[in-house]
Symmetry: C2
Subunit: 237 residues, 2 copies
DNA sequence: CAGGATTGTTAGGTCTATCTAACAATCTTG
DNA sequence: CAAGATTGTTAGATAGACCTAACAATCCTG
């Protein structure tokens, strides 16, 4: 049998959730749940019936078959995993997390999902003495207040040297590029833009949140994102 | 002007990447890059031209306008963030991470993206003394070998009590449900299934990887996922 | 119990994103 | 330089996912 389309998966999942919450699912409820019109639900259900996933008597309730239930639970499991990651770990607000999970669930591969399941498991199963692991606690503080974790305060990985990432330079400061880090694609792109080791750069402007940065290099002006600038190590002059 | 469709965003991003890699983009290259036929590229480019995002002379190369470049970079930034999360942090293999990032980038909200950006930043900026933070190192070990982190070995959050999560029970063991944890939706569903505090459960079968578990409860048989079982705290009898 | 309100269904339509087939323009090679 | 190969374009088609309009069935209330 053909794989289910994303839309069909949404209808299946909606029927499951409504069945669990209210004991039954009706065309009108599914339409409201998914934000579509009733004829769309009827058409979708017709397709699901033809695949043996839903039972639907004329003018009656919607019912998942055993196969439909198994499939819906898989889809729902995927949804829950992503939701928990977005909400519990990343700290995204519940409504946004719910909506994004609903969308993303269709596009995440089973390999990626398996890895995400393990990550969520890892975080939720080993919380240290608090509900969150310490590092997640630090992350949330970092995300909300920009405060680095304690380990960054007492031991600086590049302590003492005049080597910084470009993102740490202030307006007016200059330096010589020492190294371009990061993924191949990003490195290639930065190199294409002229960020070559040995090249002098000067910080011209920095936007309020450090993003973007205007720098001059080889007589040209570049606008870089904070992440891009972070990947360029410079020796301060 | 209308927001770009997901498909249009993909074409814009493809033109950017090809321009960076090869210095130019052609219809045939974009088609290969995105896995579509050439007429599809031509049609899409027509739309992008009408929005002032791409310049395209008849039979000529594709070129991003300054506005198109700015937009493409935004899209690409989003892609890179997701890619780095999937590949660098979750440890998903690069090809799969690249493909999933390409899909997910359209469905992640700006709030969720902002949070993910901070998460990637947090991980990459505070690596302890090694390339990865310790906890990420532990996670990768956990994901690959199932090995818990050191903190779980010397200090067990529920040490000594006969309270375990249902997932930790073995076949034949029984217990009484003490608490159902987790998100409201999940809790409600488990409660709907009869997982009510005070109820006795017995583990009948466990699949090889602990997923699913067959348990009996109130004379009924339930099939639970490992994550579901993890949310049910029981006092072992 | 009849009429109005609400929910469900059917027919036909729109829009997007892709395709195939056929033709046009450009490039390469003998 | 001409012919073949390759790339680019146009016209028309398909499939999916939704819509509106109109009608059918069921439920509720006066």
């Amino acid at each position: 049998m053909d794989a289910l389309s994303h839309s069909a998966q949404d209808y299946l999942e909606a029927i499951l959730v409504l069945s669990l919450e209210r004991g039954q699912a009706r065309v009108k409820e599914v339409a409201e749940f998914l934000g579509v019109k009733k004829p769309s639900v009827v058409a979708a259900v017709k397709g699901l019936m033809s695949k043996g996933l839903v039972k639907h008597e004329h003018y009656g309730y919607l019912e998942l078959t055993p196969r439909g239930l198994a499939m819906a639970r898989d889809i729902y499991h995927r949804h829950q995993t992503i939701y928990r990651f977005l909400h519990r770990i990343l700290g995204v607000e519940a409504t946004t997390a719910e909506r994004d999970a609903c969308q993303i669930e269709h596009y995440i591969s089973s390999k990626t999902l398996a890895r995400l399941v393990k990550f969520v498991e890892f975080v939720e199963s080993f919380p240290d003495s608090e509900e969150d692991p310490k590092w997640l606690h630090y992350f949330k503080r970092y995300a909300e207040r920009g405060e680095p974790p304690p380990c960054a305060l007492d031991k600086c990985p590049r302590g003492g040297e005049k080597v910084k990432s470009l993102s740490e330079l202030k307006v007016g400061e200059t330096g010589v590029i020492k190294r371009v880090k990061g993924e191949e694609v990003l490195k290639k792109r930065l190199l294409t833009m002229g960020a070559i080791p040995g090249t002098q750069v000067r910080v011209e402007k920095v936007a309020p949140l450090g993003d973007p940065m205007e720098i001059s290099l080889k007589g040209f002006h570049l606008s870089l994102r904070r992440e891009e600038a972070q990947n360029i190590e410079v020796e301060v002059e």
